[in-house]
Amino acid sequence: MEIPYTVERNPETGLSNGKIGIWLFLTSEVMLFGALFATYIMLRVGGADWQHDQMEAGLNIPLATVNTIVLITSSVTMVMAWASLVRRQLDRYRLFMLATVAFGFVFLIIKYFEYTAKFSHGHFPETSTFLAIYFTMTGLHGLHVIGGMAVNFYLAVPGAKLWQRNPQWLTDRVEHSGLFWHFVDLVWIFLFPVFYLL
C-alpha cells in the first residue's frame, strides 16, 4: 500500500504531507531561535556594559547591510524559481535556483570577512557576552544558510530530474525548501538590527 498524500493533497487538510512536515520543522526552529533571542535579551538587560561591549566590537554596518540585501534578493530568486516551475519553465527554474545558491554563497563570503576581521582585532566569543551571543547566533544562522544552500543545490541540479517523473512533486519540494530559505532570511532580518543597529 502506497503512503497517501506525498504529492496529492489530503482533502481534509488540503495539504500534502511535506507541507505539514516542513511547517512543523519551522515551528521547532522558531523555538530554537526564540530561546537564543531570549538569551540575547537577558544578556542585554542584565549585562551592565552591553553598550560598551557593542562599541568595542565595532561591527561593520555597511557590510551587514549589503548582506541583508543579498539575502533578501536570494529570497526573491527563490520564489521566482518556484513560480517558474508553476509556469512549467524548467530552465528558468534552474537559473533562479542556482542564483539563490550563489547569493547564499556571497552572504557566507561576506560573513567570512566579517568574522576574520573580528578575530584579527582579537575579538573572540570569550571577549564579551555581546560577542559571545553575536558569534553564537550569527554562526548558527550561518549553518542554516549552508544547509539551505545544500538542499537548493540538490533540487537545482540532480533533484530536478524528478521533473520528468512528477512535476507537481518537484514544485512542492521547491516550495518547501523555499519556506525554509525564507525563514532563514526572516531570522536574519531580526539579527541585523539587534546586533548591528540597536
Binding site: 495539504l15 512543523l24 521547532s28 523555538m31 530561546a35 538569551t39 544578556l43 557576552t129
Partner: protein, 588 residues
C-alpha cells in the same frame, strides 16, 4: 514470527547480508523501526537500572568495597573497590539521563508510538519513513555518545541530569560528551515528533474523526507537540553550554568566580539561572512526555479488559490537551528555592495546582471506567491496574512540592526522588510493561506466558514500593538527594538512614524480579502460543491487521464506522464491535 527482533539480535552479531541490512537494520518500515526503538529502550532501561544498583550499594554500605565487580571498575572510579564521590555523581547523572532520554522516551514514544500509532489509525506506514529511520539512528548515535562518555578522561557527566551551571560549565570533558549526546537525542525526538504529527493529521483512515481516535493516539499526538516545542530551547541551552565549555564564553557564568582558590578568567556577565530556566522549560514538558504515552497505553488496556467504553472519553481528551498547554507554564516550580519573589512564586504555584486538575480528571475517569465492567485480570491488566494507585501516590506527592512554602523543607530531598519515581517507575514503567504484554502478540504473532507474567508482576510491585515509599519518609526527615554516602554524614536524619539497606536490597530484588520478564520476552518468541490477529477481542484498528502485520500493514484500506471502544454494545451478540466493521455486518 518475530523477525524484527531476531534481526536486531543478529545485527549485534555483525551479520553481513545485504537484503538483511535493508530489511532489519536500515529499514524504513515503521514496525521494524518500532521494534528497534523498543529493544534499544529496554536495553537502556536495563543499563540505567544497573547503574542504579551500583549506587544503591554505596547508599546502603557507604565507603565499603563493592563486592565482585568493585575491583573491575578501576582505580580512578573505585580505588580498592570503594566508589569515589565523583563516580557516584557520574552514575547518578547518567542514571537520570539514560532512564529519561534513552529508556522511557524511546520505548514509550519511539517504540509503542512507531509500531502502534500507524496501525491504530489504519495507515500503511508513517508519513515520512526515511525521516523515521533517521530519527532512530540519531537516537542510536546519542546513546552511543552517552555510553562513550564513561570512558572520556575524567569519566562521564557528573553534574546531575539537570547539568546545572556553573558546576557543569567547569566540569570534566564528560559533560561535553553529554551535551553532544543530548543534541543527537533532541534531533531524534524532533524528527520523530514531526513524523507523528504529520501522520496523525494526514493518514487517518476514512471516517476516523478526531473524536474517534483511540486515546493512545491522542496521547502520542499531544506528546509529539510537547517534544516539538519544548525540546528546541534545550538544544539552544546545550549549544550555549558547549560555547561556554569550548569557546570560553560566559553565558552561564557571572563575573568574579573563584574556583579552588583561583579566580576564573572569563568575561563573566552571564547568569546561572538562565540555564535552569531553559532546562526546565524543556524538562517539565518532558516529564509529561514520560507520562502521557503511559496514560494512553493504560487507557487502551482498561477499555479492552473491562469490556466497556472508556468512561468520559471526551473529558479525558480535553484534559489531555489542556495538560499539554499548561505544561509550558509551570517549569519554575523546580526553582522555588533559587530565591523567587512572591509574584513569581505565586504564579508558578498557581499554575502547578491548576495542572494537577486535568491529571485528576483523567485518572478519575480511568478508575470510574472500571465500574460496571467485566474485568479480566490478564497480564496487561495487572500492570495497568497497578499503574493507577502508583501514579496516584506519585501525583499526589507532587502537590506539597508544588506549594512553594512546603517545598522549602522538601526541595532537593528524597521526597522529590520518591515523588517522581512513583510516577516514572511503578507508574510509567508498569504502563510500558503492560504495553509490552498487550501488543507483543501483534508484534510477534505469539502470546507471552501469563504465569511468568504473574511471577514478574507481584514481586515487582512489592519491591518498587519497598524502594520508593521509604524515600518519601527520608525526604520528610530532610535527607538531601545526590549524597554519595546516603546521608550518614548528617545526624539529623540518623534514624531514617537505616532504611537505605532495605531499599537497596529491594532494588536488587527488583532486578531479580525482572528475570521472568526477560525470559518470557525471549522464550515466547518461539514457544509462546500462536496468537490470532485479534487475541484480546479488541475493537481498535491495529487488531484488524494480521499478527505480525505485513509490510504495508493492511490488505485493504480501513474505514472507521464508530468510536474506538465499542465494547458490550447493547443488542450486539459478541461483546466487542470493531471500529472498522461495517454497520451492515454489525447487525447480523
Amino acid at each position: 514470527m518475530a523477525e524484527p527482533v531476531r534481526g536486531k539480535d543478529e545485527e549485534h552479531e555483525h551479520q553481513h547480508e545485504l537484503g538483511f541490512w535493508r530489511k532489519y537494520v536500515f529499514s524504513t518500515d515503521h514496525k521494524v523501526i518500532g521494534v528497534q526503538y523498543t529493544i534499544t529502550g529496554l536495553c537502556f532501561l536495563f543499563l540505567g537500572f544497573s547503574l542504579m544498583m551500583l549506587m544503591r550499594w554505596q547508599l546502603a554500605y557507604p565507603d565499603q568495597p563493592i563486592p565482585l565487580i568493585g575491583k573491575l571498575l578501576g582505580q580512578a572510579r573505585a580505588p580498592g573497590g570503594i566508589m569515589t564521590g565523583d563516580f557516584y555523581n557520574e552514575l547518578g547523572a547518567m542514571h537520570g539521563t539514560i532512564m529519561v532520554f534513552l529508556g522511557v522516551v524511546p520505548l514509550a514514544v519511539g517504540g509503542f508510538g512507531n509500531f502502534v500509532l500507524p496501525l491504530q489509525i489504519g495507515a500503511p506506514d508513517m508519513a515520512f519513513p526515511r525521516l523515521n529511520m533517521a530519527s532512530y539512528w540519531f537516537l542510536f548515535l546519542g546513546g552511543m555518545t552517552m555510553l562513550a562518555s564513561f570512558f572520556a578522561p575524567g569519566g562521564a557527566a557528573a553534574s546531575g541530569w539537570t547539568s546545572y551551571a556553573p558546576l557543569s560549565d567547569i566540569a570534566m570533558n564528560g559533560q561535553t560528551w553529554w551535551l553532544v549526546g543530548m543534541v543527537f537525542l533532541i534531533t531524534s525526538s524532533l524528527l520523530g515528533a514531526i513524523n507523528f504529527i504529520t501522520t496523525t493529521l494526514q493518514l487517518r483512515a476514512k471516517g476516523l474523526s478526531y473524536m474517534r481516535l483511540p486515546f493512545f493516539v491522542w496521547s502520542q499526538l499531544v506528546t509529539a507537540f510537547l517534544l516539538l516545542l519544548a525540546f528546541p530551547p534545550l538544544e539552544t541551552a546545550a549549544v550555549l553550554q558547549l560555547m561556554d565549555r569550548l569557546a570560553g564564553t560566559s553565558f552561564f557564568l557571572p563575573s568574579g568566580l573563584v574556583v579552588g582558590g583561583e579566580v576564573l578568567q572569563v568575561s563573566g556577565g552571564g547568569s546561572p539561572l538562565l540555564w535552569q530556566h531553559l532546562f526546565w522549560f524543556l524538562a517539565h514538558p518532558e516529564v509529561y512526555v514520560l507520562i502521557l504515552p503511559a496514560l494512553g497505553i493504560v487507557a487502551e488496556i482498561i477499555a479492552n479488559t473491562t469490556r466497556k467504553p472508556l468512561w468520559g472519553y471526551r473529558a479525558m481528551v480535553y484534559s489531555l490537551i489542556f495538560l499539554g498547554f499548561m505544561s509550558f507554564i509551570v517549569w519554575a516550580h523546580h526553582m522555588f528555592i533559587t530565591g523567587m519573589g512572591t509574584v513569581m512564586s505565586s504564579f508558578f504555584q498557581t499554575t502547578t495546582m491548576i495542572i494537577s486538575i486535568p491529571s485528576v480528571v483523567i485518572l478519575t475517569a480511568l478508575i470510574l471506567s472500571l465500574w460496571g465492567g467485566s474485568i479480566r485480570f490478564n497480564a496487561p491488566m495487572l500492570f495497568a491496574l497497578a499503574f493507577l494507585p502508583m501514579f496516584g501516590i506519585g501525583g499526589l506527592t507532587g502537590l506539597p512540592l508544588g506549594l512553594a512554602a512546603a517545598d522549602i523543607p522538601l526541595h532537593d530531598t528524597y521526597y522529590v526522588i520518591g515523588h517522581f519515581h512513583y510516577v516514572v517507575a511503578p507508574g510509567t514503567l508498569f504502563a510500558l510493561m503492560a504495553g509490552v504484554y498487550y501488543w507483543y502478540p501483534k508484534v510477534t504473532g505469539r502470546m507471552m506466558s501469563e504465569r511468568l507474567a504473574r511471577i514478574h508482576f507481584w514481586p515487582s510491585l512489592l519491591f518498587m514500593n519497598c524502594i520508593f515509599f521509604p524515600m518519601l519518609i527520608q525526604g520528610l526527615n530532610g535527607v538531601s538527594r545526590r549524597l554519595a554516602d546516603g546521608g550518614v554524614t548528617y545526624d539529623f536524619a540518623g534514624d531514617v538512614i537505616g532504611l537505605n539497606k532495605m531499599m537497596s536490597f529491594s532494588a536488587w530484588g527488583l532486578a531479580v524480579a525482572q528475570i521472568p520478564f526477560v525470559v518470557n520476552f525471549f522464550w515466547s518468541l518461539r514457544n509462546g502460543e500462536k496468537a490470532s490477529a485479534n487475541p484480546w477481542q479488541a475493537t481498535t484498528i491495529e487488531w484488524q491487521a494480521p499478527s505480525p502485520p505485513p509490510h504495508g500493514n493492511f490488505a485493504a484500506p480501513q474505514v472507521a464506522y464508530r468510536g474506538p471502544y465499542e465494547y458490550s454494545v447493547p443488542g450486539h451478540e459478541v461483546d466487542y464491535l470493531p471500529q472498522s466493521q461495517p454497520p451492515a455486518a454489525a447487525t447480523t
